[in-house]
Amino acid sequence: MDIGWIAAAAMFLQLAAQCGTPLLFGTLGGILGEKAGNLNLGVEGMMMMGAVTGYYVAAVSGHPVLAALAGGLAGSLGALLYAVITVTLQGNQTVTGLTLTIFGCGIANYIGKGCTSMTLPATIRAFYAPISVPGLSKLPLVGKMLFEQSNFVMLGILLAILIWIYFNKTRAGLNVRMVGENPGAADACGIHVNLVKYLHLLAGGFLCGLGGTYLSVVYITRWQNDLVAGLGWIAVALVIFAIWNPIRAIFGGYLFGALRSIGLVLQNTRMTFLGHEIRLDPQLLDMLPYLMTILVLVLMGVQKKKEYQPPGWLSRSYYREDR
């Protein structure tokens, strides 16, 4: 079947958005926590916990919304562990986040062993099947990507926009930004620093859990060991790429979704260059997202603009009576 260039690109973008949605959720979750000053490296762990919980509840109950909520809560639970240790008990954020990943992946794989034989009921698949927004989905190139998708995908975009409005246009959002930049200043203004951190870490964990649920319930639709396969880590890098801006997170998530999909698309494509056939090894293509992440990290470090720097107090503990 011969389809035109633009139509092919539109389909590729649609696929990229689907592939990038878990990344988007993970990135948004990371942004929420980091804006409040805490760097939670446990995204991979929280996504795994969300993935297995969401899948289990979906398979057992057949209730799509309940499954999503359960997945989100699982992520929040992981975030709660992290928050207690790093906010109340002032623990090292880097190591605690890593531990959350190891712990979360361990528990998820453990519970998941029982899920490999479970299948998802039809109600789930029907609920999350792609829907088409009339009119808008006919837009050239981006129509399918944004408006002919599962409601889960569109939820991601909606959340990104809402979170942007939250940070930039509301009082509560201003307070959070202050907590992340200078908790001492926020404290002196009467802002409850620890409460703000807890709320945002838990909300962030919820989003990571949702991202994992999307992956297991909507995208892959069955469980396998180490389902998240490093996506959580890419999400951590994407937070930096997005310069802590939720709208840019959409772009970043979908871009990296595209990179991961390239492998799948090009694998079976034969390409010729100057008469020689080029074969692209899937393993080498698979390296692309990770190499791109490194490139992004370097470029972010090179630019020096003040507004593009991480939140001033990121990763540092705050204790009011510190002398």
Partner: protein
Amino acid sequence: MTDRAAYVQMEGICKTFGVVKANDQVDFSVRKGEIHALLGENGSGKSTLMNMLSGIYMPDSGSINIGGKPCHFHSPKDAIRHGIGMVHQHFKLVDILTAKENITAGMPGSFFIKNKGMTEAIGNIAKKYGLQVQADRKIYNMSVGEKQTVEILKVLYRGADILILDEPTAVLTPQETDALFNILRNMRRENCAIIIITHKLNEVMEISDRVTVLRKGQSIGTVNTSETNAKALTEMMVGRPMSLEIQRPAVTGGADSEPLLDVRDLTIENQEKIKVIQNVSFQVRRGEILGVAGIAGSGQKELCEGIVGLQKVSGKVIFKGEDLAGCKPGNIISKGISMSFIPEDRLGMGLVGGLDIVDNVLLKSYRKTKGLFVDRKQGVSMAESIVRRFDISTPGVHHQVSKLSGGNIQKVLLGREVSLNPSVIITAYPTRGLDIGASYNIYDVLNEEKKKGVGILYIGEDLDVLLELCDRIMVIHQGELMDILPASETTKEQLGLLMLGHRGEGADHV
């Protein structure tokens, strides 16, 4: 002792941190329409006391009454609700936010931010007290005086009628200090209760109505400013009569002798390619102390770092005839060039807080031993001699440096640098955070070195000290050398004007 007219009454306040008794049964009261100075040395407990009034710390025991009603503050929010606002010494502002955002954060109100209403409200308050502010300017674009104005507006916006200012003039020029004092007089007229924490006696005498002195965590007494003087206050602060004079031995090197350090056309660029030091030229002679004055951020830090090789420079840095510009500190040290640098950041640069005295003493000399291993035995003997010579109070040479008191930490740093027998010493704010006794110790050590013929470059913020200690004073403003004046022939006001960038009339003095 209870003051009937008091609006703020603190009685029997105690606060302990670990083993340190920061406040020991302290009584303190302030009336409405009064400027009350809280005077004491560094470490006397003034900031701790006020941190409890502003809700940052909670007292271990004692009571706080506002307007006759007992109060317990569990957080800054509680204190704010009672009309207490604190302007901290180290500003609690977020650089990348605007003045308006910093002022209004944390206040209850509508879900969405209403920009216009806020700007108006801020403008009204500013007018009432005679303050100037650009509400939509980002903090990192503001001068120190402007930042302080934002801090003051922050507390006024929250309805404060009790203001606490912690060392407000530490970073201001004499002219900015005058402007601040006018604002405080405005507030006094509006019946605010104003507390000003300071260790500067002349300011206490100038602006305050009453003074309370703290010493080593205890309240010594409260007096009416009109009934006391600097000498009496010093005695209360230190506990014994003390001469406030700093010795100034004569310069050993003659005026036409070869300078030890000859800096020519020094220019330093920072990461954003802005010139933080521009074409600065000066000389330091044998046995003289050259002071450097300037408002914070004028480039003093970069100047020092540039001379010792920690910053990239263009121009010449001629030390005993050899041009050092462009050499890294490692080269300078290995060339045997004896130039000592005592940075302002003691635990951040000069010393490693987490290591013991021996390892810190070895920092610049560990390379001298041959081979792969560090000679710690030599380090121990060096450390022991420094401890003896400078009378450093420590359980032992293997004690962790960060656990020493501020004065002793500075002594370790100074001691190490001086033991290297330098020809030139560059020191930045060496007495910052030290009490009077320790500060005078430092001046004595520097004078000792001066008598030996060492050339000293002294960056300081206390103009009174600079005028007494130094032979000549150089003023820097925004990276440019304004003028170099003989200390005996200049005044604080002259220095202040130069610090603000106003070149004086008259011929060049060098």
